[in-house]
Amino acid sequence: MSLSLEEVRRAAALSRLRLTAEEEGLFAAQLGRIVAHIDHLREFASLTADSDPAPGLEADDEPRPDPRGELFLANAPEVRGPFYAVPRMLAGGGAAETDGPDE
């Protein structure tokens, strides 16, 4: 069994990944075998999935300054002042320096 190339392309697009034609064919065959194995789940007992959230700790939802801000920004590919700089959202935009947030 294999997934159709269209199914692989759709899942890759949802994943924001671009595949070569060779990768599409390879993944269609490999993922098809994996999905065929997963299809055996129909043969096993099943219970309605629990919708209750798992018990856990809840942090106070309060904003507070984080002195590590600069450390986080230090890993960014591009920053402007205290902000991450990102490319223009609409196609045709250029580098971040043309449309980064105002300081």
Partner: protein
């Protein structure tokens, strides 16, 4: 190799506290051993010699001033490359995070350092912890120190190989479907996957958040138990960490397993084991009986569904967790025309094949038209599996299985067949899915001397009885972690 590096970590720490050896000497011994063996193993992605020697020097200075030192004083420790340490590189063995310097320290590391452990470097792994052989690292292949032509297992393969080779007496790994236990088994060391929620995941780069756990790999059960005892416990920075008090694991660890009821799963396919594993498994059951355990056959019918459940749940979570790697806030960015194109170009260039395959599988399972048939069904079968485990633990203290169907496989043997690679995790994924604590301990070797291991599982938060039984088995089996680096010429 420095014999000091092969001692249980509590003995090392006692000697450092007593001044018989300095923390600096311990770290120099570890760095020396890494320099001696790692060109053959490829276990380390980075050595943090300056930082480690500075920490060791500070510990020695405190001892000279008469200050009390911690329970891991001067013990060299390695961390898997997905565990954050502030100011140090953390890359998940991925091109995507090349050069990333963590701004935070994982709680597990913080707690070990508070007991004066010293971190010497970061170990190789399958990229983003996705793999069972350490062959999916973007940077290097790690080899098994028992036979350099074999894989060390994965994804915590670098940590397992480093411990087995005597480079460090203790290492940290993470386990999502067996990523501590399987490499521990392949490398003949002890690996513990704690109960889900027992150890804070803060600072662990997320893969499958409902199953990820940090755990120790050591040369012996007591060393792993001490590390787990220190790391365990509530952490307000991880909402899934448990409020159940951290156990004193060493207090009763020598009291044996007499009277324990050990469940043998009817669904374990003994016919599917390699002959050497079948023999070692049979001998392990005899040993458990001789040590006073009562063996009881139990059934967990959904056990055989574990791999399928795992690859839906873990990869669905991975597809969401790894969405953050888009080239905006950290990691690499591949410039393209516009935001959407930059996301796609960055992720396409940054992720390796296995990571892409799993993200795509997860996106497929979560997508409109397939969600109920895959993700929804997997959740339902998982819920039944959890209930079956609860029923089993109503009548037994522990469950036993082999850790793997056989010994370490050859490098390259399974890279072209991902399903075959996935199926080798058949015994380790169930405990991950059900959130159970589990330990892998050596129980034999095949006819070429490669290690084979036994897995014990316990009910949630029953790590004390789990490790008590493991220690009793270990004491009786008297395994020696003495890899011979076979295949040196062929591996070159």
């Amino acid at each position: 190799m420095s014999e000091l590096l092969t001692l249980p970590v509590e003995v090392i720490a006692a000697r450092v506290r007593g001044g018989e050896v300095s923390a600096t000497e311990m770290i120099e011994a570890s760095l020396g051993r890494i320099a001696e063996v790692d060109s053959r193993l490829g276990a380390f992605l980075g050595i943090e010699a300056d930082e480690a020697l500075a920490s060791a020097g500070a510990i020695d200075a405190r001892r000279r001033r008469g200050e009390r030192l911690g329970r891991l004083a001067g013990v060299p420790v390695a961390r898997k490359d997905n565990l954050s340490y502030s100011g140090r590189l953390t890359g998940c063995a991925s091109r995507m995070l090349e050069g990333y310097v963590s701004p935070l320290t994982a709680t597990a590391i913080e707690r070990l350092v508070a007991e004066d452990a010293v971190f010497v470097g970061r170990t190789n792994m399958d990229e983003f912890a996705m793999g069972s052989s350490c062959e999916n690292s973007a940077f290097q292949v790690t080899r098994n120190p028992w036979d350099l032509r074999r894989v060390p297992g994965g994804s915590s393969g670098g940590s397992a190989a480093a411990v087995a080779a005597g480079a460090v007496p203790l290492a940290l790994g993470s386990d999502t479907g067996g990523s501590i236990r399987q490499p521990a088994a392949f490398c003949g060391v002890v690996g513990v996957k704690p109960t889900y929620g027992r150890v804070s995941r803060y600072g662990l780069v997320a893969f499958g958040s409902s199953v990820d756990q940090i755990g120790p790999l050591g040369r012996d059960v007591r060393s792993a138990a001490l590390a787990l005892e220190i790391m365990a416990g509530e952490d307000p920075r991880d909402a899934t960490s448990s409020r159940i008090a951290a156990p004193a694991l060493l207090d009763e660890i020598e009291t044996g397993l007499g009277g324990m009821r050990v469940g043998i799963l009817r669904e374990v396919p003994v016919s599917g084991l390699d002959p050497a594993m079948a023999a070692a498994w049979s001998a392990a059951l005899e040993r458990l009986t001789r040590l006073g355990a009562e063996l009881v056959e139990v059934s967990v019918p959904n056990l055989e569904a574990a791999i399928a459940i795992y690859y839906v749940i873990a990869n669905s979570e991975a597809s969401a967790n790894l969405a953050r790697f888009d080239g905006m806030r950290y990691g690499r960015r591949v410039a393209a025309a516009g935001l959407e194109e930059t996301y796609t170009a960055t992720r396409t260039a940054g992720f390796g094949h296995e990571v892409k395959r799993r993200i795509i599988l997860g996106s497929f399972a979560l997508s409109a038209g397939y969600y109920d048939a895959y993700y929804g069904r997997a959740r339902g079968v998982l819920r039944a599996l959890e209930q079956q485990f609860r029923s089993a633990f109503a009548s037994v203290d522990l469950l036993a299985t082999p850790t793997t169907p056989g010994s370490a496989f050859a490098l390259g043997e399974r890279t072209s067949d991902p399903l075959a690679m996935y199926l080798s995790d058949i015994f380790t994924t169930p405990a991950s899915l059900a959130g159970l604590p589990a330990v892998s301990i050596p129980c034999g070797c095949d006819d070429t001397g490669l290690p084979l291991s036994l897995q014990l599982m316990a009910a949630p938060f029953a790590e004390a009885s789990l490790l008590r039984a493991a220690r009793a088995f270990e004491r009786d089996f008297a395994w020696s972690v003495a890899p011979r680096f076979r295949g040196e010429t062929d591996a070159a």
